[in-house]
């Protein structure tokens, strides 16, 4: 009764060998600091202290909106003129700020010292500061360092840098222990629970998540670890896990009925799950997802879509919209293209799609205007200006903050794209 698509032949399929348009110029993207806005919700016992400028504080405030007022677990240690006078002084100042912060917030178990452009340009050694402060605060507080600077990271890469910084702290999986499945990438709790239920129903019982909901409850890792990436922007984290012996399971990312099935199938294959059992486990969710997608199909089928680079979610989302809703991707821009992790996505994009990496925003906007897409996915700095030129847009940041993975979010994900088109059609002003 259930027909799963045969595993796509990756070589020479779709856009696998398509040339990539690489551009450099003005990039209209967030820096990695923005990742803090969702990461701190996932790890309620962690605090994120950015060491940066007033600009960094202003960015977090602008991105976090109203959350700023609810005793958030992030802040900025703003570098001032006198800190720039000499490095020794800056280190002492940082220690003072951290001590004051931890005295105020005794419930914090992990403190992330997050590097920014200014702290990196003045070469303030936050790794050493983390080490120095760890001596004073362990075991109560673990102090970890990563960079969320714009010169190093784009938007979601902040999560990658954060998770990669946690990998050295993961305990060693004992030798000879049973094969373990690790799901990597911060997901909304409800989505994580759905995926864990499916994996366990398949018969995989030794399963853990990174990040864990408690920052100190890190899962073990070792040569018997098999990991699935839930998010496409985790290149460094994957490398760090592989350095500890873990093995990556290649798969499409879990968006839509097909993507989620493919993702789960990668785990099933690695753990020797019987095909009939696998199908029976995924069938109900898969069918629900397909039914939910039907609501948006009429509005989206045959429509063209243009992705500007933002989060690295662009390729998997374009694949989902093309394969499951019949949309036609014109150009799919990504801030960074990891060919290996994107193999399954590239293979399923239609031949002729422009794949671009990096950005020269003015030239890219010229291409948007020339190709007149039905919907353009872009950041909030561009959305209203494009709307006023007559383009229908979907602002990209919502795709990072909303639950969109897995079977039961497939309909919501399609709706995120269908809604701007429906609104364009209903308005009479």
């Amino acid at each position: 009764m259930i027909t799963t698509a045969p595993a796509p032949a990756l070589a020479d399929a779709g856009c696998t060998t398509a040339p990539v348009l690489r551009e450099r110029g003005q990039r209209e993207v967030f820096c990695g600091l923005t990742g803090i806005v969702w990461l701190h919700r996932k790890m309620p016992d962690a605090f994120f202290l950015v060491v940066g400028s007033r600009t960094c504080a202003h960015l977090l405030q602008s991105a976090a909106g109203v959350m700023i007022f609810a005793e958030p677990r992030f802040a900025t240690a703003i570098i001032e003129e006198r800190d720039l006078a000499g490095l020794a002084d800056a280190n002492e100042e940082l220690d003072r700020v951290v001590r004051r912060l931890l005295a105020r917030r005794p419930e914090i178990r992990t403190l992330f010292l997050v590097g920014s452009c200014p702290s990196e340009v003045i070469k303030l050694d936050l790794a050493r500061a983390a080490h120095r402060l760890a001596g004073a605060f362990l075991p109560d507080v673990r102090i970890v360092n990563y960079s969320g600077s714009g010169i190093e990271t784009t938007f979601t890469q902040g999560e990658d840098a954060c998770l990669a910084s946690l990998v050295p702290f993961m305990p060693q999986l004992p030798e000879g222990s049973a094969q373990q499945l690790l799901i990597v990438g911060a997901l909304p709790d409800i989505v994580e629970d759905q995926l864990l239920r499916l994996v366990r129903d398949m018969g995989i019982t030794n399963v853990a998540c990174l990040p864990a909901r408690s920052s100190r409850d890190l899962p073990a890792v070792g040569p018997n670890t098999r990991f699935l990436l839930a998010q496409p922007f985790l290149g460094d984290t994957a490398l760090a896990l592989e350095d500890r012996g873990a093995v990556h399971l290649p798969a499409a990312f879990p968006f839509g009925a097909e993507g989620t099935t493919d993702w789960l199938r990668a785990a099933a294959n690695a753990f020797g799950i019987d095909e009939m059992h696998f199908r029976s486990v995924v069938a109900p969710g898969r069918e629900r997802a397909k039914r939910a997608l039907e609501h948006s199909r009429a509005r989206l089928e045959g429509k063209t879509i243009f992705f500007l680079p933002d989060s690295q979610l662009e390729l998997p989302l374009a694949r989902f919209l093309h394969v499951e809703l019949g949309m036609i991707p014109v150009e799919v821009g990504t801030p960074y293209l990891h060919r290996q992790h994107m193999a399954a996505e590239l293979a399923q994009l239609p031949v002729g799609t422009v794949i671009s990496e990096g950005q020269d925003v003015d030239k890219q906007l010229d291409r948007v205007r020339a190709s007149k897409p039905d919907i353009t996915v872009c950041g909030l700095g561009l959305a209203n200006p494009l709307e006023s030129e007559g383009f229908t847009t979907k602002w990209a940041i919502e795709l990072v903050f909303s639950p969109i993975h897995g079977f039961d979010q497939a309909g919501d994900l399609a709706e995120l794209f269908a809604r701007p088109i429906r609104r364009r059609d209903v308005l009479r002003v």
Binding site: Q26, Q61, S62, S149, G379, L380
Partner: protein, 558 residues
């Protein structure tokens, strides 16, 4: 280093963006790392502009650091000039570029671009947004203004009417759009022509003829003061000192402007739309008398609001402060006049402490004070930037002029319980429509959709939906836990409030006194409790009885 969660002002280059975005044909080349484009969305989302701000970012990355960034800068400059064809180019650094050794001014000047290049020195580690806007506007005026500085500006031949410039309105300014309309109305009534409005809506050519005006109207000193002083020195243009926010200030402003222009003030003094004075004298406003109001914002709006509060609404100013140190002296003078301690700080926790200690009945402030007031269950209205998207309204909503005074009356009085309603709440407090949990009908977070609030320890639910950005439920703002009436803890921890609110409460409430206290309307109950406890503590009373409660009430009566 300064530990900061919330900042009242952005970095100075955001101020420069506000000036550039306000103008029509100026482009800003900002040497900045990837990510600083976040500031674009302040303009496209909060102010809802349909155009991208005229800013090109060089977007350097780690791999570019070294000699490469200079080339990146020059390429970006060439591309920006070719694509946008601006009449003038602003060049400057963001905070990170300030730390690397490139010299945007030198690099741009070496390129011999066919347009004026205006270099901006904006020290990001010591200055902030308003200073950046002010400095940028000053540099633009200084570079582009043309005129004979040796003689006073004289009325143009062939133009019988006096001319004035409107200085200060910018992009992302609180109600700047509508204030311009109100000032224009006044000038029209006085027969004064507007020469240039800048930076908002001005082109480089407009700035070039700024010296043609007879005098300047400084609408927002935070942005226009430096430029106005330079224009006074260079072209002998006097400028106005009165900020026309409030009815009385508007009258003073009209007289000042008429004096500078040498025209009769009368035609503008009696505009029919001035409803505020009568509204304030009408009997329903009697209950406003002596309401304690705490005022915080930028210095200009805060000082103007204090005058309106005292002279035109009959409030008592119980706190006055600003976050922009550049105008600290003005705030100190105004605070002395109102007999309060000036509060000059950019630390919102200090503001919160001061508000909690002052026990105001109304807070006038920025978006931040709105949230503080919500936590403390005190009514609040917004009078100053920074503000969220809802304070860039579609409707006409000025702060200046006579219509501005009307707007102030409505927006400050609405959050208060109206006179009749207050009376009814007291009379019928045990009726189902008027129980404590019902709150005032216009306090959105105090409506019956929330669990009834039965004690002053309760926190109002921190509503979402006010963010510049929207978030789905799973990452919605953390909500304060509802506290049961039995627990009645103090609203904030001692540490949060500072020492001011931590009273040594030796005296215990008797059951009867506690019951009596609960009969007092919830919006003044907190103050009654604190006053009574302070009264008991001062006198070393071991227990608080009904008598103590009323003794204290008599003691603190005003």
């Amino acid at each position: 280093m300064q530990l900061s969660v919330w900042t009242y002002e952005g970095p100075p280059h955001v101020g420069a963006m506000r000036v550039a975005t306000g103008m029509t044909d100026v482009h800003y080349l900002l040497h900045a790392p990837q990510g600083d484009t976040y500031a674009d969305l302040l303009f496209t989302m909060i102010e809802r502009r349909g155009k991208r701000p005229p800013v090109t970012y060089t977007t350097f990355q780690a791999r570019d650091l070294g000699t490469d960034t200079a080339e990146l800068f020059q390429t970006a400059a060439r591309d920006a000039v070719a694509r946008y064809n601006p009449a003038a180019l602003l060049v400057g650094s963001s905070c990170t570029a300030e730390l690397i050794q490139d010299d945007p001014a030198g690099m741009a000047q070496a390129m011999r671009l066919p347009i004026p290049v205006i270099p901006l020195e904006l020290p990001s580690y010591s200055r902030k947004e308003n200073w950046g806007a002010s400095e940028t506007f000053y540099q633009i005026v200084r570079t582009l203004a043309v005129g004979d500085s040796s003689r006073p500006a004289s009325r143009q031949a062939g133009s019988p009417r006096p001319k004035a410039n409107l200085l200060g309105p910018s992009a992302l300014g609180f109600r700047h759009r509508d204030d311009i309309v109100e000032i224009a109305k006044i000038l029209a009534a006085l027969g004064i022509e507007i020469n240039v409005t800048a930076p908002m809506g001005a082109s480089a050519a407009d700035i070039a003829r700024i010296a043609d005006a007879d005098f300047n109207i400084v609408m927002y000193p935070e942005i226009a003061d430096t430029a106005a002083r330079w224009l006074e020195k260079s072209f002998k243009q006097p400028f106005t000192k009165t900020i026309p926010i409030g009815h009385g200030a508007t009258l003073d402003f009209i007289r000042e402007v008429a004096g500078l222009a040498g025209v009769d003030a009368a035609p503008a003094l009696d505009l029919a739309e001035a409803r505020m004075p009568w509204w304030s004298r009408s009997v329903d406003s009697t209950y406003l008398t002596g309401k304690r109001v705490f005022i915080f914002g930028d210095a200009t709006h805060a000082i103007a609001a204090a005058r309106v509060a005292r002279d035109e609404l009959g409030f008592v100013v119980c706190g006055l402060g600003c976050y922009n140190r550049e105008f600290a002296r003005d705030i100190r003078a105004a605070a002395a006049e109102h007999g309060v301690e000036p509060l000059i700080t950019d630390d919102h926790l200090e503001v919160e402490d001061a508000i909690a200690a002052a026990h105001p009945e109304l807070v006038l402030g920025t978006q931040m004070e709105r949230h503080i007031a919500k936590r403390l269950s005190v009514p609040c209205a917004v009078i100053s930037a920074p503000v969220h998207v809802q304070d860039f309204p579609a409707r006409h909503s000025p702060q200046m002029g006579f219509e501005g005074a009307n707007v102030l009356f409505d927006s400050w009085v609405h959050p208060l319980v109206m006179g009749l309603e207050e009376h009814l709440l007291t009379m019928f407090r045990d009726d189902p429509e008027f129980h404590d949990g019902a709150g005032a009908s216009h306090l959105a977070h105090g409506t019956t959709t929330n669990p009834p609030r039965t004690g002053e320890g309760d926190h109002p639910q921190d509503g979402g939906g006010e963010a510049g950005l929207r978030f789905p439920d799973d990452i919605a703002p953390e909500r304060s836990p509802s506290v049961s009436a039995d627990a009645l803890p103090p609203p904030r921890t001692g540490e949060d409030l500072g020492d001011v609110a931590v009273l040594d409460v030796a005296a215990r409430w008797t059951t009867e006194a506690e019951i009596e206290l609960k009969k007092i309307p919830f919006f003044v109950r907190g103050k009654a409790r604190r006053n009574t406890e302070a009264y008991a503590a001062e006198r070393g009373l071991a227990s608080i009885t009904i008598d103590t409660l009323y003794e204290a009430k008599a003691h603190y009566a005003r």
